[in-house]
Symmetry: C2
Subunit: 221 residues, 2 copies
């Protein structure tokens, strides 16, 4: 019974996501949905990414959190317009749903936006099930989380288009086997592009941002 | 509408949790529900905890994961009986619900069990909403996740009885402010007991295990 209920919620979400996708296409906006566990480094990665992208691409951000505006405050410092969604106003939701994105996008000038980055709620499970009308999905996995997360949370890695292995500056202090992590990712999502990065030190970000610019360019021309 | 649906699911869960609680009380079993983000170190903490508790307390474990039996395999090596729940059989659930625990407990000899540890699905959001009929709840926060998780995911820290700050062996390599983390925890849950531990090195585990023995003894006498 519970499953049926969830299915119905997902059907409604799917329709709203299609509407969002149409709206974003009309406005010439590329939407990137960024997901991860809590504390994997989404905000730091996006801070750095926005700073580097800024001269070339007009960015805006929607940040999802259950509570607080901590991440939005950090990202606003990059100069990009930021809308914070606190899901406790939507029943404490563990993910951003399509109707929430539609509402949040009303607070942005989409005519002036080329790339809209959505920082989802920190959760490696539920956000994977909710299409928000995005063009691409990125998952950030911190190397402090262990190698086996891709096989333990396969849906997330299956639905995403690109994976960032973050916090590689900590590798010398961990027993994390990065080759094993990569092979687990490729096991659940063959051919997935994987970028090793440290949002803290900036290492590896250029390759990731090169990939992102490429996919945005492919859509917007 | 979505919220109402969730409420109904939670009402049903609450009744099942009460039944579980009654059953566990009759069998003289103390139930500890352990929750965290993915990769915060629940399994390593429990491996060490089980090894240390073993001579004194008969333990059993229920492990929740969406996929894989990795954690169950690790915990079974401690000699404790382990039941793995893969929630993909229950619709890929992002949490363990009370009816799932009831079913999993059928696979254990509760007459021979004093402490049943439930390692929940790695998720700092949803499991906080689902009472499983436990006596105590522990949240594990890895210091690699950043200080602000307690204020960003307050429900989890509010419903738990004890917090473990794990991976403190990595503190020299992080800009994590442990006093700030503690004050955030106490802000959402005044008086919460907090233990600084490294499941990897074993540092700090004695105090946590002392606390656990105390609460188990208080119930079982």
């Amino acid at each position: 019974m519970e499953i049926k209920v969830v299915r119905r919620v997902l059907d409604v979400n799917e329709k709203m996501a299609d509407q969002n996708r149409k709206m974003f296409a009309e406005k010439g906006v590329f939407v990137l949905n960024v997901m991860s566990s809590p504390g994997a480094g989404k905000s730091t990665t996006l801070e750095k990414t926005l700073s580097i992208l800024k001269p070339d691409i007009n960015c805006a951000v929607i940040v999802g959190d259950i509570c607080t505006t901590n991440d939005a405050d950090r990202l606003a410092k990059t100069g990009a317009p930021v809308v914070q969604v606190n899901t406790d106003e939507f029943g404490g939701d563990c993910h951003l749903a399509a109707h929430v994105i539609e509402k949040a996008a009303e607070g942005l000038d989409l005519d002036e936006t080329e790339l809209l980055i959505v920082e989802n709620v920190g959760n490696l499970v539920c956000p994977a099930e909710f299409d928000i009308g995005e063009d691409a999905r990125a998952v950030v996995l911190s190397v402090t989380e262990g190698e086996d997360k891709p096989v333990k949370y396969p849906l997330m890695f299956r639905v995403c288009d690109v994976a960032l292995l973050n916090k590689i500056d900590l590798l010398p202090y961990l027993s994390f086997d990065i080759e094993k992590a990569r092979s687990y990712i490729l096991q659940v999502h063959p051919g997935m592009p994987i970028f090793d990065v440290s949002a803290q030190t900036g290492e590896g970000l250029e390759l990731w941002i090169g990939w992102l610019k490429e996919v945005v360019k492919k859509k917007l021309g």
